[in-house]
Symmetry: C2
Subunit: 397 residues, 2 copies
């Protein structure tokens, strides 16, 4: 006598969590050095020293009643001012504190946006595979439907024709995630400009904006000296969801934001609806100490060079073993590797038998791939290459 | 083109918040010493020194990757073990770590429970006036309906006959909040035992449990050497929602829990549904640092004697001025004062004209009362008594 959907969500772990827990059990049996766990996206680089020092300073120098007290529901005003100024300095657009709604991480940010934009049950949000599977949970939790578009292999940029065909009268928004978990793709300015053009045309036809929801927890984790293009430069009706989980290596502290820039159609209504959704979902305010910390450390990142080193090691090492590494990830700490047989689940089973834990791409809506989270210590990757070699050997490579 | 309900919730502040913001503006105009703000329930006593020291210790001595990393969705196992042992030591019942789901505060705990227990749209949760107005927001957010029972003045214990009449085939749960915001009432063991008996009888008739949801953020704030009775002692199907916001004066950090004890019917299903609701609402895990802090400080409280002093001062001072203080609050830091005219909104308007900010009881479903939050510095209460005198004078007292 409980909610069927909630029960299902609470009793069935995600594929990723399942594999991660298996890895922990297995490590207990055979020793952690014998298990090569590439399952979970838990940052492996510590928070920057300056952030840890700022945390100590905040605790030492602040009035504890204020530091740990309620903030305004949208977040502490001084924190929002600092963050808005930082965004403006980096990206332009003249963002202000009333464009920012601080949230309990990016998951909360997305939930607030989906709830805010769902006008009637069955409204649709379009999502591109491969995609983070919780998106579907969040969208359906808002009473809307997730319309999943098939992956555009091998580069995983956007298939604009498929998107054009998928947009209909029930479309409320399009969700993108660039840098992308799991594909590692970063949308190019060309892709985003084509996307913007398409959405402007279709919004015009519908007589109302199709909002573009940009989930950006990996914004700073990009390689080869590249930058993640700023989505609102390409489409005015873009709502940005962010989290400091990966950039500052603080995923457990749950701090993020929704940015509704002044250029967004019906800005005040959208912003109020996001805040109202937060209220309805029980999000009183984002954790107060970390609001101040993230604002103070805005622009800082953990030492991301370690991820770059891991990526290079995998590209070189896996390539030498006969894996297809012709398209290394442009961002994130995920390698989305074409599997050595079409059935990615079977491939990952074979890997698992060697205690090499990879997540099948079909869990993300993209069969024929396996996701490797390379936010693990570099020596573990070196050690794992030997096992990858064994696995390739089983396929006659 | 946004969710109507979310927009309304985000654009209309609660009566309490509205008054609080007014107080801040007014303080800017006439000086903070001229405004007597009893509007908001923000703890005025700092967190206990031992908790602040534990916070520094945790930060100094822990591996930051672990301290700030993801925890299991239901909360860090060591933290849950410690909390379950503490609950068992205090209340018996042999609680275990798998009875506890750590949440982003009590609001999140309640939202998870309402979502978990709502089987079909229009299912009902019964709430007793006076009640914290966000309850209705959370219940409706889960797709259920709040059935509000009228207040039982003057003692605000439960009217069991009214409850009996209100229970029907759609009733999923009954929500209680003892010590109660705003009435300050603590349900007696007699009340709870009558409630338990009634709910057992009606559950039996329905052939399924009516769950009792006990919201207990003020559990430790009780006076005259009393203790808050432990609700699961009186009814097996009780689900306890807790928050450290008031006991440790950390309301901004958002840490609480749902306790589904082993005695709850369909324990595993209920627990899974609560966890599944958290996942669906975007609650990945409760903030990780404060999970550890609250577990380490379990049993500690801020110096609650200051609230007792404020309560005594108000009882004596207001009584001398002709206010009815014959039933001072048994718990919480709220005084629920009979107004000097039947129209509590008019009374609070008169008070507001004197810069004395009180929340009308009708905002909580109980006309004829005004709520005073006495979590303010004691000297402010002394100063305010003069203004209360002026107000009484206007009514010829």
């Amino acid at each position: 006598m409980v909610s069927k959907r909630c029960y299902e969500l609470g009793s069935a772990r995600s594929v990723i969590r399942e594999l991660f827990e298996y890895g922990n059990r297995r490590a207990g049996e055979v020793g952690p050095e014998r298990v090569y766990d590439f399952s979970i996206g838990n940052p492996s680089v510590p928070p920057p020293q300056a952030a840890l020092e700022e945390l100590e300073r905040l605790i030492r120098d602040s009035d504890p009643l204020e530091l740990h007290g309620y903030t305004s529901a949208q977040g502490d005003l001084a924190a929002r001012r600092k963050l808005a100024a930082g965004l403006t300095a980096r990206f332009g657009h003249d963002y202000g504190p009333d464009d920012l709604y601080l949230t309990v991480g990016a998951a909360a940010a997305l939930c607030c946006v989906f709830h805010a934009l769902t006008v009637a049950p069955g409204d649709e949000f379009i999502v591109f595979a491969p995609y983070f599977p919780e998106y579907k949970v969040f969208i359906e939790g808002a009473g809307a439907a997730a319309v999943i578009l098939p992956p555009k292999a091998p580069d995983f940029q956007i298939d604009l024709d498929a998107l054009d065909a998928a947009i209909g009268p029930r479309t409320r928004g399009v969700l993108i995630n660039s840098p992308n978990n799991p594909a590692g793709v970063v949308y190019t300015p060309q892709t985003l400009s084509g996307l913007g053009e398409l959405l402007r045309r279709r919004s015009g036809e519908l007589g109302r904006p199709i909002y573009l929801i940009s989930d950006e927890p990996y914004r700073e984790i990009v390689y080869d000296g590249k930058q993640t293009p700023w989505v609102p430069d390409h489409y005015a009706d873009a709502i940005v969801c962010y989290s400091w989980s990966k950039s500052l290596s603080l995923p457990g502290e749950r701090l993020g934001y929704v940015l509704v820039g002044g250029q967004v159609t019906d800005h005040d209504q959208v912003f109020a609806a996001v805040a109202g959704a937060g209220r309805r979902l029980g999000y009183v305010n984002a954790p107060s100490l970390f609001q101040r910390l993230c604002a103070a450390c805005d622009g800082l990142t953990a030492d991301l060079s370690i991820y770059a080193e891991n990526r290079a090691l995998l590209t070189q090492g896996l390539g030498a073993l006969g894996y297809d590494t012709s398209l290394p990830p442009a961002g994130t700490f995920y390698y989305f590797l074409p599997t050595l047989e079409p059935d990615d689940v079977a491939f990952c089973q074979r890997a698992k038998a060697l205690d090499l834990l990879l997540v099948p791409g079909s869990g993300f809506g993209a069969a024929g791939y396996a996701r490797l989270s390379f936010c693990v210590p570099t020596p573990r990757i070196r050690a794992a290459l030997e096992v990858f070699g064994k696995l390739a050997g089983e396929y006659g490579r």
